[in-house]
């Protein structure tokens, strides 16, 4: 099989990087969804999210990200 020319290789490399980034983002969302489901959704009486559940999921995502930011900042402060 002929190798791809240099330009095509570069293009494919960039494409794979972009797709990998997208896939990593989706993996993160899977983890968040699992974690936040456990915190927020206690029963399946209806097939829709009510407003409390929706708010809880949104809070969960935002607080988890805040936690991450907090930890990184504090570590930076400790190291100084």
């Amino acid at each position: 099989m002929e190798a791809f020319d240099q330009a095509t290789q570069q293009e494919l490399k960039k494409f794979v990087e972009q797709e990998t980034q997208k896939a990593q983002m989706q993996q993160t969302i899977h983890e968040f969804t699992g974690r936040c489901w456990e915190s927020c959704i206690t029963q399946a009486k209806s097939n829709q999210l009510d407003s409390k559940e929706t708010a809880c999921l949104q809070n969960c995502v935002n607080r988890f990200v805040d936690t991450s930011v907090f930890i990184v900042k504090r570590l930076q402060n400790i190291q100084q």
Binding site: E2, F4, D5, T8, E11, L12, F15, V16, E19, K22, A23, Q26, Q27, T28, I29, H30, F32, T33, G34, C36, W37, E38, C40, I41, Q43, A44, K45, S46, N47, Q48, L49, E53, T54, L57, Q58, C60, V61, N62, V65
Partner: protein, 87 residues
């Protein structure tokens, strides 16, 4: 012989067709991995929620609960995705 799942390239510029085959292959594999992850998560969470004591078959109420749970999980994935992307 093709290691790309038998894509047939009848294009007059074989170099171009093969590059697109590779891109298609990568996208399909990543989409499949994502779907499998989703299925595993739903299976885990909805079993936990809907089947507290496993019997010898799935009762109709258990099946109904699983359907509702699945819909809810997909809606949750969507809500979480939007909230995360907005940060």
């Amino acid at each position: 012989m093709s290691s790309f799942g038998g894509f047939n390239s009848a294009a007059s510029t074989p170099g171009v067709a093969r590059k697109e085959d590779v891109m298609q292959q990568v996208k399909q594999e990543l989409a499949l991995a994502n779907a499998q992850e989703l299925i595993n998560s739903i299976n885990k969470q909805c079993y936990k929620m809907c089947i507290p004591s496993p019997g010898t078959s799935l009762s109709s109420s258990e099946q109904a609960s699983l359907s509702r749970c699945m819909d809810k999980y997909l809606a949750s994935w969507d809500t979480v995705s939007r909230a995360y992307v907005a940060r």
